[in-house]
């Protein structure tokens, strides 16, 4: 019913710093994920210019036939977006929680360099716990 396909985190210059694949279909290789991330970054930026209303902060939701894409941009320009099944609820809350995990386990880690790919064991651990919990809640099992 409700499932997350993948999670992307991109830095403020559009480079992919984290990618996690949860779905079984549509697996991409590394190059494709990098391309997708920078593509999304550009689209996000263009949409801010295209908007008829001033003060637009970019695309928050992209709805397609076979997937939904929810995007959250922090004040620092780091973007978290998740590709999920159409009609999935509570993705905004999930994205905010992932942002919190990012600030906790990535930014407070002295061995993490800013804007570099995330290689923090604790972040992976807590992220999978959060997604698992959410999956259980969303699937109602």
């Amino acid at each position: 019913m409700a499932a997350i396909y993948s999670l992307f985190i991109i830095n403020k210059s559009g480079g992919l710093i984290f990618y996690k694949d949860y779905g079984s279909t549509g697996r991409m290789d590394t190059n494709d994920t990098l391309r997708l991330a920078s593509l999304w970054h550009s689209m996000h930026a263009i949409s801010q210019q295209l908007s008829p209303i001033a003060g637009c902060s970019g695309i928050e939701l992209l709805e397609a036939d076979t997937f939904d894409l929810h995007c959250f941009q922090s004040l620092t320009g780091t973007k978290f977006f998740v590709v999920c099944e159409p009609g999935t609820l509570y993705m905004d809350g999930l994205l905010k929680m992932i942002y919190e995990l990012y600030t906790d386990y990535v930014l407070k880690n002295p061995f993490y360099e800013m804007e570099m790919p995330i290689r923090c064991e604790l972040f992976d651990l807590s992220l999978s716990q959060a997604i698992q919990k959410d999956r259980v809640a969303l699937l109602g099992r």
């Binding site: 880690n109 002295p110 061995f111 604790l122 651990l125």
Partner: protein, 308 residues
Amino acid sequence: MPVWYFSNLTFCFLNYPCLLNNSTIVPDASMTVSQSSLVSVLSNTLTLCSRSQKKKKKPLFTDLSIWDSLFLSDLYLSTEHSALNPKEEFVFGLESKARHRSNCVYFILKLQHQAPQPPLRLRRKGEEGRNDDRSKQEVSLSAFAFLFSELVQYNQTQVDNIAELERRLEDAGYAVGARVLELLCHRDKGNRRETRLLGILSFVHSTVWKVLFGKVADSLEKGTEHEDEYMISEKELLVNRFISIPKDMGTFNCGAFVAGIVRGVLDSAGFPAVVTAHFVPMEGQQRPRTTILIKFAEEVLRREARLG
């Protein structure tokens, strides 16, 4: 005969700072005093006011008697005239011979032939409570985590290898430990000093941990292989809460900071030891436990055996 006033008597040895009030002393005009006569003069005529004026005044010698014989035998008398007022001030101190231990007692007696100065104002009960409230205020964990992360990052830029980084973190912790011991002895233990091994270990395990991390340590164990090894275990050290060590750093543990704190406390209390922090993998748990390993120096064990 001049009456000598202790206008400003500061009795402080490293672990127990006390402020003393005015006291008058029946003059012993002889300036050449032997160590034993000095001690007896002081003990007979001087009373030690502890923190609150309401508390019972204890004679000094009782406090001296809590020192074990080892320390007392190391005392010698050194006299030197103060350069400022050669006629009016007579400064002498009892110093521990073992300077490296830096446990020293200073009696700085400014003996003046004048009227005594107004007494030093000791903190009364109410004000003490207020200070305690301030000291128990909590700090945001995130603020500490960022500060600690910056400490680690700064030290990383200064060193070439991991062993030196660990040593630097330990040294930073050592400074904290020495100060924490002073503060806690004064605040929580009523200026009593631990002389036994188990006493100081349980002090570290409960009081120090409670003040620093908000909870007592998970466990305190004695090493099975060696007599001089003890271990304080913790499921996860507070300083390591948000830190993931990269694979290429091997066995490095930011808990070296906490190991340094423990070493600072033990060293300043007179129990020199080598303290290290280790990750201990546990079956069934994803995250390893942290163990602070304390290895005491030879002299500590010998003293402990002598004390019985």
